[in-house]
Amino acid sequence: MDTIFSAKAWATVWQYRATFLNGLLNTLESAVVGLVIAMIIGFAIGLMATSGKRWMQVVARVYVEFFQNTPLILQVCFLYYALAYSGVRITVVVIGFVSLGLYHGAYVGEVVRAGIQSIPAGQFDAARSQGFGYAETMRAIILPQTVKIILPPMVNQVVALIKNTSCLYIIGGADLIATTYNFVTGESTGGAYGPAYLVGGLLFFLVCYPLSMMAGRWERRLKERDRQVVTAIEEQEGGDAA
């Protein structure tokens, strides 16, 4: 703890500032690619879960339950060891992309499902009565309406994804946490625990905090608007009765 006031330790951190920035970039890279994979899987899972076709719903359910009920670290390690011992050469970075994408795909899937299910059935009926097919209905009518419901939890998923890149440390990744840890335990740079962890944590915080603030504010505004709608309807009903 006392290293936090040591000028020498801070100087070492400053000298190796590129290392920290590099770690942050790796974390963001994993998060962005992971997010893209998670979105693709998530929308597929969400659409399957609301398709009304039994076998598709079962597949979506099994996928979500499996990935949500087992630790990400276990999934990451399994992928890493299984590939390593079967002689497949894939870099740790790619394993990170895939495992983050698969894990968060389950969560995104649940968000998408909840979004689609929140749309009144009348919208589906109206679209069909106008001759829209399934794909058209989803693309033009349903999904655009889900955006505002989906957005806050989706941003929370992004925050979770950024934080979860730290799991890649366990397989020797180069994310921000692994970089920070290697820095404080490194032979030439070791010892500057206080400043290094402070900087590593601060970088995470600077990225995640604005995102979670934004999500929180959207969510509150959404609830506020719902309440206003409900009050307006109640007032109108009261007025009609009178």
Partner: protein, 261 residues
């Protein structure tokens, strides 16, 4: 093909080994024990944080509110892995006796200290999430409840502990249970510091799989770790985590649908 069958038989043999199975089940007990301890303590800390953040809105108490807010936002926006490492270096730990270490199945007291620090990290991290869950519960208690309690002559402390908190907790029981799932999963982060819980134990057994899967001949031919070992051992861990968490999530779902009906 028969090679594969032999390897698979060897891998399953690892799980049949009573020593290995006992070791893994002990890991499971640690996973559950650590998670329950972390949940209980973070409930306590989280409740304090939530009450402070929600109700210390006047006078000098606002400074406390600021601190609670900073704590919550700080831990919610940084990864658990960071706190594992920070606590490993900076968290003070009491000195444990050798007997206590032996009771937990450790050969040294150093590992007990690390376990303590890792549990502190998990608890501190979970407390911030818990605080936000409890705050949601507090906000769901109707304003009239406070007024009714005050009008009956209850002070702030008794209003909170006897009237508001019990109702708040009843409203958030499903969310608390799903946080239990998250905490059981999060306890696997400990495997980066100390090998006690299921994840760490599984990894350790895999790294020694060549001594258990029947390929070990002598000290010159130390056998190999096969990919089937990875599948069988991690598969076992997957099944155990899944069985516990899926059961919990079914309970949560049933509670939620019953509440809605």
């Amino acid at each position: 093909m028969s090679d594969f069958m032999n390897e698979l038989r060897g891998s399953i043999g690892i799980l049949r080994n009573p020593d290995v199975m006992g070791y893994l089940l002990k890991g499971l007990l640690f996973t559950l024990g650590i998670s329950i301890i972390a949940i209980l303590f973070s409930l306590l800390i989280g409740a304090v944080l939530a009450l402070v953040r929600n109700y210390c809105t006047r006078g000098p108490a606002r400074a406390l509110r600021k601190i609670a807010s900073i704590y919550i936002e700080l831990f919610r926006n940084t990864p658990l892995m960071l706190w594992m490492f920070v606590c490993f270096v900076m968290c003070p730990a009491p000195s444990f006796s050798k007997d206590f270490a032996k009771l937990l199945g450790f050969s040294s007291t150093v590992a007990v200290k690390t376990l303590f620090k890792a549990t502190v990290a998990l608890t501190l991290f979970t407390s911030a999430i818990m605080a936000e869950i409890i705050r949601g519960g507090l906000n769901s208690v109707a304003k009239g409840q406070f007024e009714a309690a005050y009008s009956q002559g209850f002070g702030t402390f008794r209003t909170m502990t006897l009237i508001v908190l019990p109702q708040a907790f009843r409203n958030i029981i499903p969310t608390l249970l799903s946080q239990m799932i998250t905490t059981i999963k999060d306890s696997s982060y400990m495997s980066s510091l100390v090998t006690v819980e299921l994840m760490g134990c599984t990894k350790l057994i895999i790294s020694k799989a060549n001594t258990y899967n029947g390929t070990w001949v002598d000290r010159f031919n130390r056998g190999t770790i096969n990919v089937t070992d990875v599948f069988v051992l991690f598969g076992f861990a997957f099944i155990v985590y899944f069985a516990i968490n899926f059961t919990l999530s079914c309970v949560v779902r049933r509670m939620r649908t019953r509440k809605r009906a």
